[in-house]
Structures are given as C-alpha cells and as structure tokens.
Subunit: 536 residues, 2 copies
C-alpha cells in the first residue's frame, strides 16, 4: 500500500481502478498505522471536514453510488450552502486576520477543565470502574499544549454540522471496520440524535401527501414524527423475521396512484435489528431479499439501527445457561447480522446510527452513513437548524471512545453489553416461561434489542362472545395490569397505520431497565392479570 497523501484522498474520483493496485481493506490493527499516514487532523475552530479525510484507500477502489436527485423534496433541492460558511475558505490564507465570523473568544468560556471517570477494559462494571477506572482530563488548550487533538477551546465553540473531525474520524473508521459499504463515496455526518436525523430525513425525502413504508408495527415516535408532515403509512406485513419481502413487492407492484391518491412510495423506514416493538431481527437472507425489492422499485432504505450492537447470544432455552461470549473480536463481528449498509451496492441506504442504547442517550449524538450526495443534503439542513451536536457531548465521547478505549476497547464494551443484555433477556424469557399461561400467551425469543413481544390470544377472552372488540379487550387487560401495578405497552400503540384492523393482539415488555427480580415479579403480576381477565 503506497503512503496516502492528498492525492489518495482525491481517489474517490477514480472509478476505473484497473491501473491502481488494490489497497488492503482497513483492519482494527491497521487503524493506528493508517492514521499516521493520513492527512493531519484539522484542529482549529469549526474546521471543514468530511469522512473522505478518514476513509482508507481501499474504499475508493469501489464504484460510486447512484445519484438520487429524484428522491429529494422541494425543500431539500432548494437549500444552498451557507453564505457565511462559504466565506470561511479565505481563512486558510496564511497570515489572514479575520474580523469576519462572529465566533466568541475562548477566554469567555467559563470552563477551564473537564474530567470524566470511565471504565478501563475489561473492568466495565461500576465497581470495577471505581477500582481500575481512568480519569480522562480535558483542558482548555490541550491542542496548543500538544496534549490532545481535541480540547475545550474547540469543543465549547461553534462547530461544523458534520461534527468535530476528531469524533467524525472515529465513527468513519468504525463504519468502515464494521460495515465496509460496497461503494466508494459513502460518508458520515454526526447528528444531534437519530430522532432528529429521522425528522430531517422526512423533510429531505418526502412531500405532504406521500406514503412512507414502515413495518406494520413500528416505533410510535417515528410514526408520530411523520404524521404532522402530512404523510401516511404503507404498513408492510411482517413475520418473526420482520418485513415480508414478497408482500412489500406485491404492495408496490400493485400500487394504484389514483385509488391511493398518492405517488408510489419510495421511502422505507425499517428497524432491521431488534425491531421496536416486535423484537424481530431480519436475517441476512431476509435483508438481501428486501434490498432486491428496494432495487426493483427504486426504494430508499432508511435503516434505523439503535439496537445493532444489542444482538445477543442465541437463546438456549429454559434453565440452560447462555453460550460463552465471542472468543475474539473477529468472532464477535462475524456473529453480527450484516447491515443493509454492508450490502448497499447502489448507495440507496441511509443508516441512522445512535449511541443512545450503547453509551448514553443523554449525549444526543448520533451519526448517519449514506452516499456523499445524501450526506451533503443532510449537512446543509443541519447547518441552519441544529448547527452541530453538543460539543461537550462530542468531547466526552471522543475522550472515551477514541483516546481511552480505541476501537478495540469499544468492541470489548459492546461484547460486555451483549452478555449483559443476554442475561436480561433470558431473565424475562424465564419469567414468561414460569408465569404466563401458555394457552393464551405466545412469543418468540428476541435475538436483539430491548423488547419482547407477547401475543395474547384475544379470541379466547370471555367478552368476545358478547361482542367486545380487540381494542376494548386490549384496553381492559392493560388497565387491569395497571391495577396489578405492572406496566406494559399496548401493541396497538405501535400500529404504523392507526386505522388498520389487526388480526392479533400484543403487549410489549422491555428488559432494558428493570432488575431480574423486578422482571420476575412484573411478569408474575401480568400473568395474574391474564388469568383473572381470561377466567383461567
């Protein structure tokens, strides 16, 4: 591999790679070496940056993404680059004195130092952190003093919509290491959380009156983001593995513009891993099939992936212990179901990434991976809205993930999280097996995520004969459970199409926040509720 330079960085323009020797793909071990060879980290205030600064040369040997101009909304199409940010180009001139931009001077930021205490792998528990944890210091002028590539002087000032290059590098490398998208010009941008990214996506890719495709049961907030924009849901039938591709194909093939009063939908919102609320995880084959249908009908896939690293150990059944953790990082990565991004030869996937379930929701920092064209439109929007995610959050994440853990330590953390969530899920499944009446309650062990989806056979409910509807029965059971001091979520809250009449009835339980004892007691209370209500 020849030493990268400004010329390599420009390789993204190269589509005929026959004359170029094909560089090795980036590896975990290769990251430090690659970092040394690449262009210098920009460490000024709000420096322009992009993933192109951080991707390895192997990326640019691939073909470029398709153009998706036809997906852009009127709003997205008419958004121009920021005038004032464009003027920043002159700041690169050596010796330039600027009275141009209104950036406050760092002497007016009243925080001189920020320290965090964090775990050191492999001691991830709060107890281990007390003993072996590290204190990460961040001073105001660490960059000038040669102590760090990122500091408070920069983090406390305005930043770019792409995020700070220091953290953008980490997520770009992470993306290449885990997903290695099969086209050349993919990029990342940080976002102020993935809920915000989803709201922005709707404004970029839809117009009032459009339909968007969603799993028939979906994350209620994601749906509630869409409705006030005048959007309607085309609810896609699902099974234990999520979206049924044949059903999606049929719905799109038979789309009747006149009858529907809307153009054929081209935005698919999906939570492929540990879906909320059903807990379903699409297998690799399922994803390939959904991707093929998306190619056939020219669909943009927005994969919302907060639970990707909450893929758990296989469920070993009642009373059995979970299999041992992945022996190596490679085993761990191989155990993960491949993302849509990893099979995205066209550049039609927008991957919404989140630290909320694996580090901290309160950071309000996530990121997006998509083609350069699409990322650019997101960034133009962020510039005049969120501006950039919190610099304080970015600094904390950078110190923890990049300076302290590195990619390898982050994987250790994610493996520990996997084992921990496996225990939690198993506790819930064991409680269900122990308490719930099997003649009316059915479930599939979730392979990922935070949610367990319990079907309750409403047709056996005593009031059915007297004409009670599924809706009424669901409400009666829910309120009776509340009377028994246990709160589950009603399945109907998650209907993508609120007017749809569903055949089955579900309740959603989470194992994310309660302890094993609490889970057992809560499920026992729910079982009592069901027995009472069903007269069992």
């Amino acid at each position: 591999m020849s030493p990268p330079s400004a010329v390599d960085i420009e390789m993204k323009g190269v589509t005929d790679t026959s004359a170029v020797s094909i560089p090795d793909p980036l590896t975990f071990k290769g990251v430090p070496g690659w970092r040394e060879k690449m262009a210098k980290m920009p460490t000024g205030v709000a420096p322009a940056c992009s993933s192109d600064m951080f991707k390895s040369p192997a990326c640019y040997t691939k073909p470029k993404a398709k153009r998706f101009d036809h997906f852009l909304s009127l709003e997205a199409k008419s958004r121009k680059a920021s005038t004032l940010k464009t003027a920043a180009q002159y700041l690169r001139n050596p010796g330039m004195l600027s009275l141009g931009g209104g950036l406050p001077s760092s002497e007016y930021f009243p925080i001189e130092q920020l320290d965090i205490k964090v775990p050191t792998p492999p001691g991830f528990t709060p107890e281990a952190t007390r003993e072996s944890g590290a204190i990460l210091h961040s001073g105001k002028h660490d960059i000038k003093e040669g102590k760090s590539l990122y500091d408070l002087e920069i983090a406390l000032n305005y930043g770019q919509a792409t995020g700070a290059p220091q953290l953008l590098r980490f997520v770009t490398e992470h993306t290449e290491l885990i997903h290695n998208p099969p086209y050349a010009d993919w990029q990342c941008t940080l976002t102020a959380g993935s809920t915000y990214a989803w709201d922005t996506a709707l404004r970029l890719f839809t117009e009032r009156g459009d339909y968007i495709m969603m799993e028939e049961y979906t994350f209620a907030s994601a749906a509630e983001t869409a409705w006030p924009l005048g959007l309607k849901a085309l609810a896609l039938p699902i099974d234990e593995e999520g979206i049924v591709p044949e059903a999606m194909d049929e719905l799109l093939s038979n789309w009747d513009v006149k009858a529907r009063g809307a153009r054929k939908p081209y935005v698919l919102y999906t939570i492929p891993t540990g879906q909320n609320p059903t807990g379903a995880t699409q297998s690799a084959e399922r994803r390939q099939a959904v991707y093929k249908v998306s190619q056939k009908h020219d669909v943009l896939i927005i994969e919302d992936e907060p639970y990707y690293f909450l893929q758990m150990q296989p469920y070993s059944g009642e009373g059995a212990a979970a299999p041992p953790p992945p022996a190596t990082h490679d085993d761990f990565i191989k155990s993960l179901v491949p993302s849509f991004l990893s099979m995205d030869v066209d550049g039609r996937v927008v991957r919404l990434e989140s630290f909320s379930k694996v580090v901290s929701p309160g950071s309000r920092v996530g990121w997006i991976v998509a083609s350069e064209q699409i990322i650019e439109r997101f960034v133009r929007n962020f510039e005049v809205s969120s501006q950039n995610p919190s610099g304080i959050s970015q600094l904390v994440l950078y110190k923890l993930l990049d300076e302290h853990w590195g990619h390898s330590g982050y994987l250790d953390w994610l493996i520990a999280l996997r084992m921990s969530y496996t225990d939690r899920r198993d506790a819930l499944l064991h409680a269900c097996e122990k308490h719930l009446p099997r003649d009316i309650a059915h479930w599939v062990a979730p392979a990922a995520g935070m949610f367990h989806w319990i079907e309750v056979d409403w047709r056996k409910y005593p009031g059915v004969a007297a004409g009670k509807t599924r809706e009424v029965i669901e409400e009666e059971i829910f309120l009776s459970a509340v009377d028994h001091s246990v709160l589950l979520s009603r399945g109907s809250w998650f209907k993508a199409d609120s007017s749809a009449i569903m055949e089955k009835m579900f309740f959603r339980a989470t194992y994310a926040s309660a302890s094993s004892d609490q889970i057992d007691e809560a499920i026992s209370r729910f079982a009592t509720t069901l027995r009472e209500q069903f007269g069992l």
Copy 2:
C-alpha cells in the same frame, strides 16, 4: 405571602385576582426562600416538568395571554402528544413495576463521574480560575446520595423536550427576574440551540409561499433557514435604532394580497439588541412603537436575543476611558434596554434565548420564552425531533450556573463580560478612528453585540463613472482586502431580500474573537485597501 403549594401552582387559572392578596414579585435575594417553599424538584428519569413549577405566585396575578391558534401551521396544528410519553402517567402509581418504556439502565452509561473546573466570582479570568476556581463534581448517583439535585444517572439518560427541570428552573427564574413578562401563563422550554428553535418556529408558524418580516439586513443563516421552506422576506427598512415602525406599519397597511401573491405577513423576525450585522440596538421607545404596530396588525414577534447581555458601556469617544462598571446588580439590570418580552401584554412575543455568546456556543443549549400555548407546540415538535438538548451540556450548565454561581454570580459574570466587550469594541472603534479614511467610511458606535457596521461611500469609487455597480465594487474591495490579508464580511451577504437593490454599501467587522493588537492591524490593512481602491 402565603406559603405556596399545589394550589398556588394552579393559580395560573385565576384571572379574577380581586379576592387574592397580590404577592410580591420575585427578587434575586428572594430566590432561595421561594425555592424552599415551592413544590419539590422532580429528580427522576425524564420527569414531566414545566415553568409553572418554578414561577413565583406574583406571575399568576396577571391576565392570561391571548390565544394564537390562527398563527399555527397545518403541521403545528396536526401534531399530537406522544403516545408513549402519555403512557408515562401510570408510572406515578406507587409500587408500579414498569416493563413499558425502553430506557436503558444507568449501569450501561460508562461515565461514573464528571468534574469541571470553573471560575469563582469575581475571579473570572483564566488566570484567576487557576488560582481561585472551583472544581464541581458530578457523580452518577449524587441524587440518591443526597449530594445534588442532578446527576449523571439522569443527565446521561433520555430527558424531556422541555429540558431537565433542574436547568429549566434556573432559566425560568432568570426570565422572571430579568424580564418579568406582563402576562400570567408564560413558560420556558430548553432547546437544542436557538438556530434550531428558529427552524422549528418557521415550521410552526408559516406555510410555503408566506412572507416573513425581517430587518432589511439580517443574520444570513436565519434567512437561509427560511428560503428552502418556500418563504420570502418582507425586508423592513432600518435606521441606527433598527426597524422603523412607521415603515413597517405602512408596508403592512398597504399589503396587496393579489400583487404579492401571498397573505399578509404575521411573523416578524428581529434581533433587537446588537443586531447582526448592523450592530443596531432598538431603544425602549422604539420597541414600544414596533410592539404597537405588531398589535395593530396582529403580528407575532420572534425576538432573537443572543446579544442581550452584550450590551456595553456607553462609548466615551476617542482616547477616553470607559465609564466604571455598574455599581450594583440593580444598576446593571436597569442599564439594560427592556426586552419585547417585558412589554408583551398579549403573549405575542417568542423570545429565543441563547447561552452561545455568554457561556458557550458548543453547549447547544438555549431556551424559548413564550405563552403556554406556543411553548406547548414547540415541545410537541421537539419530542419527535431533537428530543431534548444534550444532557451532558445541561448538567455542566446546571452545575456552573445554578449550584456554583447562582443568579447573583451569573450576573457578576455578565457584568465582567460587558466590561470586556466594551474594551474590545472600544479597541475596534479607536482603530477605525485612527486608520479609516473618514471621507468615505462612516459608522455609528455599536451599543451592544459583536458587530461593527462600516458604511463605505461607493459613489466615490473610481470605477463608478465607468458604470461599475455597487455589487461589483463591494466584491472588488472585499477581494482586495483578502489580498491585504484581512477578512471582513460583505454587507450584501446579509440582505434579507437578495433581489433588493440597496442604496448603500457596508462591511461588517467583529471585535469578538481578535485581540486588540490584531484588531488594530486588521483595520489598518482594511484602511490601506480602501485608500488604494479609492485612490486616496
């Protein structure tokens, strides 16, 4: 004053106050006493909260705001409360075990402690902070351990769109102490920065095709937020005191729906203090006049106020020293020009507040003050977009502003900032007086903000006779300045209506980020540019 209770909190419903003894208004000294009497701070994960928990009883003796349903967009009108957040009501039942919401457990937040080093009043400089600064500790379980009202367990988890009650209390009290809005049901909500608040405001109050009113020169990014939404600017004529109310009245009185192809505008975006780019500050009388015109034409005033506390000492002229700082907090507050919010008897003002210019732009935390009806619509939007500002930022701001400084220490900081910006502005003005050719360069000393607006008499430019336009001349001067290694902003970048032909030509200089020496050198270079270009 009777001890406040849940009943007092409900006083906001009372409009006939004849039977109620009128309570004293909140004072800086009264804050601790009032806090002791009021309802307990909610310290759980993502607790519901509102400013009503923190306003003093004096607020509720005032009449309620008008309703502004007719200002709401289709999007704003159709947004409902979040289903899942509504379900949280059952969590209040004692003994409830929840398997409902998918909130991660705090043991999975890998930050056990966060410490910041900050200045202690009156030692605000970095040097003083090194000597007398305080280290503020934040542990994961400070709340349970009785050490603080806010901690990492809460800050690192999801929060409410209103922001954490801990910080919401501070901004609510600050708002009452400084602005004391003259109607009862005002509220605050935190936001992920005021640029984001402005983007959201446009989506709440406008439809594609509408005009919005802006100062004829305005913050370029604010305008660029609006254009892709299909909005047009009605550029309001300005003088040294900003918006000319008579001109605004005339434009609205003569609005011709047919000729304009749009309904009469009802959203006014204004930066009343230290306006960007002109540096103009509207006097109290000017604001009263603009408010009256807004009442007459039923206009919603969005006051964007990042520079409110960058009101400086009066300019004493060349060579003279600045007057001494305000002797007391009361003197300081009296020296501030009253906000639109403080004169808003109708509840027609939406005040966008920011910590960016007075604490740190990188926090990406700001807040909005408006009537309960309007705040509720903002919050509904935030819930499905930003969710909440960074919890890490909120924690840092709370520790600094509330626990360490308190309202009184924050005022000390703001006074120090005032004196410091006065010095910076004076350095710029002295440099202008020293270097700039007075026959072609004219300016007014800015009373607030970060910006100095320099008029250059383009009609005296050598190329005018040969037919060079103002635009071309502005560009030639700008590029020539770049060649002389000094960057100013071109006035035309800030035109609210990009198609407007302006009579005058301006350059904007900031004194926010450069040192006095740099400012002197930069203005000297600009003077050289002007002399060369004008052949002086």
